[in-house]
């Protein structure tokens, strides 16, 4: 049985294809259209997943959309009623798009019919709808290694739900209880994202990255004013500080005042200490609320394993703390925890929940290391390289050892490598298939990578990709983290004593301090967003890090996504070459080809 899952029309549209309960392929539309967070119907991603399985859309048995559009319409309409008479502006600009939701079955059928299938058959026999949080929960539980687990989903808002609890057992997933809009931890975080001048639904991880530069001096005020926490783990926001129900802006003037700001930070305004303090306080507030929520659920349901999904589950700092402090035996987080993962979850929810499909357990999980996207043949890569032959040199090295040694030397020389290998990852993280690699020992690497290659804010840290078997030697309480979803503290023996000058630095001045042995991948508070690498998941990269370890004594390298600022991660060899020539990247390695620029400075 083939089941297709689709998420679309909000942000980050995606498609997933299952054969039985096996995930055959999954991809986000943005990777193909090159439009970041593309929300349009995922035609190109759909073509890809069908081609991966070598089937047509007519062969698919069920098509499942990741949420219930009419319930969503109802919630938005009710929000307009609640805010009346103050929501005129957003009503005028939101309603034409909103009305689409009433004709959703027709809209989806029309789009799917473009793939040469019978419209009537699709509409009447094949089209199904999951709920937003069921999709998230299914994406977290069914691919996990657990027979039984409690599943917690947290995001901005689905239809009505913002936070939901499910019980998962074998192939069943039962929703238990939920918290409704407007009380939402995701929207709380997004409100501050907007207040700090970043783009909502995109800039949340920038706020998380900014937090360690600040002091959480607003934490107590936030706890007292913004949120009521109840003993049963539930919470309610004080809506006088928020405006997102009116859908014109996220925060109220009262919140701006509470944060001791004269005005919200503009996109191009400088980042001040107060902004960092706000980010730090918000991050602490989120962690505190999550700990309280999970602790209350634990005493109510007495579970050992927890699965997380929803946008909030991408907050890897909070995830690391949950793992440390909640006394769990197992924690599994869906790597595509955002709405793109809803495509996967909707298909799994239908297959198991409606069709009672068997669940085959896979170790360490059923996600295939998130390598669910397209790969390219040597011929396609060579053809793409040939188009750039006037600007570059390329060599093909078929000897594995020689290729690894060459790459290792590039890294030791401080060069940055664009790494393009195998199937593209599904989800927001580059995990070694479409990555930029570098030497983590250099204190300047973070700044250089940010400013010369990725052209983004200098404060944002990079992740270490560390050999799984060595992770515990470098990071406190490190367990398996193959999807870069947990933050651990660097062990004391790898930290360096700070000079008096470095100690006196504040805010962004702390950037570039030589504070530890792996400065490029360790935040100023010694935290690191760790990705542990298993040999089975990526043998070539594992060998490269092992060789790097032998030479340098450091079992990790810098891993960041292969893209430029505001662009999606590269998908095809042509995307990789475009990105390579537009940036200050030194080397490009695509499968067995090594590409170098004729004139790196001009390029």
């Amino acid at each position: 049985m083939y089941t297709l899952g689709i998420s679309a029309y909000y942000h980050d549209s995606a498609v997933t294809l299952l054969r039985g309960d096996e995930i055959i392929a999954a991809a986000q539309e943005e990777r193909f259209t090159r439009k970041k967070n593309d929300e349009r119907f995922p035609h190109l991603a759909l073509n890809y997943v069908l081609s991966e399985a070598q089937i047509t859309l007519a062969d698919v048995d069920a098509i499942v959309f990741y949420e219930k559009p009419i319930l969503k319409f109802e919630r938005i309409l009710e929000a307009f009623l609640k805010e009346a008479p103050f929501g005129l502006h957003s009503f005028i600009y939101g309603v034409p798009k909103l009305l689409q939701k009433l004709f959703f079955r027709r809209l989806l059928t029309r789009e799917l019919a473009k793939h040469k299938v019978d419209k009537r058959e699709i509409k009447e026999q094949k089209l199904y709808f999951s709920t937003h949080h069921m999709s998230h929960a299914a994406s977290a539980f069914f691919p996990s290694p657990f027979q039984e687990a409690l599943v917690l989903t947290l995001d901005g808002v689905g239809e009505w739900t913002t936070t939901a609890v499910f019980k998962g057992k074998k192939n069943t997933l039962i929703p238990i209880k939920e918290i409704h809009f407007p009380h939402s931890l995701g929207l709380l975080y997004s409100t501050f994202t907007a207040l700090l001048g970043f783009k909502v639904n995109e800039g949340e991880y920038k706020v998380m990255g900014l937090a360690p530069y600040g002091e959480p001096r607003f934490l107590e005020v936030f706890k007292k004013e913004l949120i009521s926490l109840h003993d049963d783990g539930s919470f309610a926001l004080n809506m006088s500080y928020f405006r997102y129900t009116r859908r014109d802006r996220m925060y109220s003037k009262k919140l701006v005042k509470l944060c001791e700001l004269n005005k919200p930070r503009g996109v191009n305004d400088p980042l001040l200490q107060v902004h960092m303090d706000i980010a730090a306080s918000l991050q602490k507030l989120l962690e505190f609320t999550l700990i309280q929520l999970i602790t209350a659920l634990k005493s109510e349901f007495e579970f050992k394993n927890l699965c997380l999904a929803g946008g909030v589950a991408l907050n890897c700092v909070a995830n690391g703390i949950i793992e440390r402090e909640c006394g769990l035996e197992g924690l599994w987080i869906q790597p595509a925890a955002g709405d793109a993962g809803g495509a996967l979850g909707s298909s799994l929810a239908y297959y198991h929940g409606q069709m009672n499909g068997e669940r085959k357990f896979k170790f360490p999980d059923a996600m295939k290391a998130a390598k669910l996207g397209p790969s390219y043949t040597v011929e396609v890569i060579k053809a793409a390289i040939d188009k750039y032959s006037e600007r570059s040199n390329s060599i093909q090295i078929d000897n594995e050892i020689e290729l690894i040694e060459k790459c290792r030397e590039y890294l030791i020389e401080g060069k940055t490598i664009g790494w393009f290998q195998g199937r593209m990852e599904f989800g927001p993280r580059a995990l070694g298939s479409r990555s930029i690699l570098g030497d983590p020992r250099s204190p300047q690497m973070q700044r250089n990578l940010n400013l010369k290659i990725k052209f983004r804010e200098s404060f944002r840290p990079f992740a270490p990709m560390v050999l799984e078997e060595e992770a515990h030697q470098w990071f406190e309480n490190a367990s398996s983290s193959p999807y870069m979803l947990k933050v651990y503290q660097l062990k004391a023996e790898h930290r360096l004593a700070l000079s008096e000058d470095d100690k006196s630095k504040k805010g962004l001045q702390k950037l570039g301090r030589n504070h530890c042995k792996v400065a490029a991948t360790t935040h100023i508070d010694y935290s690191a967003r760790v990705q542990t690498l298993r040999k089975a998941d990526n043998p070539r990269l594992h060998t490269l890090i092992k060789e790097f370890h032998k030479k340098t004594g450091v079992p990790m390298i810098v891993n960041t996504s292969f893209n430029l600022k505001d662009e999606p991660i590269v998908c095809s060899p042509t995307d990789a070459l475009n990105c390579y020539f537009k940036s200050g990247l030194d080397i490009l390695v695509m499968e067995n080809f090594i590409v170098t620029k004729h004139d790196p400075i001009t390029n």
Partner: protein, 123 residues
């Protein structure tokens, strides 16, 4: 500018033609001193009025369609929000205010989840 061709379907009876026709009918009736003169006169007037109303309604509708399809996107960008604003102030705002007065706000905290799910429907 887009155009809308409605000429092929245009009525052949214009108000001028109609008034001439009506005058002829009434004149004939009066001339023959018809027995139920008043009844027929009232009927004829009612028909004339209905026709005129129909004609006006149709003309206004056609004018609207013609205008709507003929106007530039800029004008449409003004008209659509205006219509939506009318809709907002005549429906949403009063209903919203009444709801606020008479219906209590939904409680915060945990709500029971719906189970089982109906995958067949978008609601």
């Amino acid at each position: 500018m887009k155009s809308f061709d409605y000429h092929s379907d245009e009525s052949k009876i214009t108000p001028t033609k109609f008034i001439i026709g009506l005058t002829l009918v009434l004149g004939t009736l009066i001339a023959f001193n018809f027995q139920h003169q008043t009844t027929y006169l009232a009927l004829a007037l009612a028909l004339a009025l209905a026709h005129l109303l129909f004609w006006f309604a149709r003309s206004i509708f056609r004018l609207f369609v013609d205008f709507w399809l003929g106007v530039t996107d800029k004008i449409q960008a003004i008209v659509t929000p205006t219509l939506l604003a009318i809709c907002y102030f005549s429906l949403i705002a009063p209903y919203g205010i009444l709801t606020k007065i008479f219906i209590k706000t939904k409680k915060s905290g945990w709500h029971d989840s719906q189970y089982p799910l109906d995958y067949n429907e978008p609601f």
